[in-house]
Symmetry: C2
Subunit: 211 residues, 2 copies
């Protein structure tokens, strides 16, 4: 146990600290696989607690996973807020979004990796929670895209379709950045997505919703 | 053991049949998780062989995974060939691609699911193999996109960027189709990707490569 201050640690503080240690250990343990491959016993061992102590914090690996989804989407929401802020500035929405994406992925590689993996390979309830969170991001982004030049006459439906496409490209780019540690390769990924978003924007400016 | 005919089964035939049983058992066992969560013992038990018999067919779970990547990409290549055939027909590239995608995902749900999961959550070597196969698909698609109306003056680089975007959208759509079993939801996914590809194509027709 590491002492964090000179004051003796309260029971509540200690509980919070153990909870944090469980979350961090889980992010680390499943960084190369999935929650499905993880046992409660492994997590307890990594944290240095007895398996039964785990239950003081979480009911199951699944509910631990749901807590990590919530925490990871706090990171993702930060990203989307920055992207949306740049979307509102309009002019350099492409460069602005990509810069925000790269910056956030670098800062919270663990969270982004967790979402990328559990989204397709996690327990069913965790996949469902991620799906709902991504939909929420799409809906929020659609609201902001409505304020962008060129989408004035778009239907709400088309705005959501565009927003979902935008989110798909961001998710795919984040996954590619996560899969490399080489700078030249990352630069290539970024150059590609920059051109992709520019191609896409040209379509947006020409698009007319059917009513 | 099930007898497949009246002729006694040869040693080679039996070996092939067990290999097939191992591949099928693995697709089934990791259908809700990832190869990383799978032990050789589990596979052997499911097939009904002793663990040591596994090694007559594969060196490890990882090399079994690589065999499944190869097999799954045979399915994916069929899809991409159909998509590219439709791309060449040009006129209904959007509807044609989506029809091909939905049809193939329905037919080989196991292969598409395997690729979707192992792409992000599988062992490193398996992730690498999938990555290379997807790049190959992108390169082949780029060659065909070059023949499409509107891309005559495009650089090879831009063609590859467009091809990668196209593949991203198809991958993301396949993942969404895999995540639902409800018909109305699938119809919604299809309607969304149809509009997305149309938006994208409008951009393509307007795009001029910088030289």
């Amino acid at each position: 146990m590491i002492e964090t201050g000179t004051e003796p640690e309260s029971r509540a503080e200690r509980k919070l600290r153990t909870r944090r240690a469980i979350l961090d250990a889980t992010l680390e343990l499943c960084s190369d696989s999935s929650l499905n491959a993880l046992s409660l016993r492994q997590v307890a061992k990594q944290v240095g607690i007895v398996p039964t102590a785990f239950y003081r914090h979480f009911d199951s690996i699944e509910s631990l996973g749901l807590a990590l989804v919530e925490e990871s989407f706090d990171s993702l929401r930060d990203l989307f807020r920055d992207v949306r802020r740049n979307a509102r500035a309009d002019e350099d929405i492409v460069d602005g979004s990509i810069d925000a994406l790269v910056d956030h992925v670098h800062r919270r590689r663990d969270h982004f990796g967790f979402i990328a993996r559990e989204r397709v390979a996690g327990p069913r309830s965790v996949r469902g929670a991620i799906h709902r969170e991504i939909e929420l991001c799409e809906r929020e982004l659609a609201t902001d895209l409505a304020l962008m030049t060129g989408t004035d006459a778009w239907t709400g439906k088309d705005l959501h379709v565009l927003s979902a496409l935008f989110v798909s490209v961001l998710v795919s780019t984040a996954e590619q950045i996560l899969s490399t540690t080489r700078v030249e390769q990352e630069e290539q990924i970024i150059a590609t997505v920059r051109t992709q978003l520019r191609m896409l924007l040209i379509g947006v400016y020409q698009w007319r919703s059917e009513r």
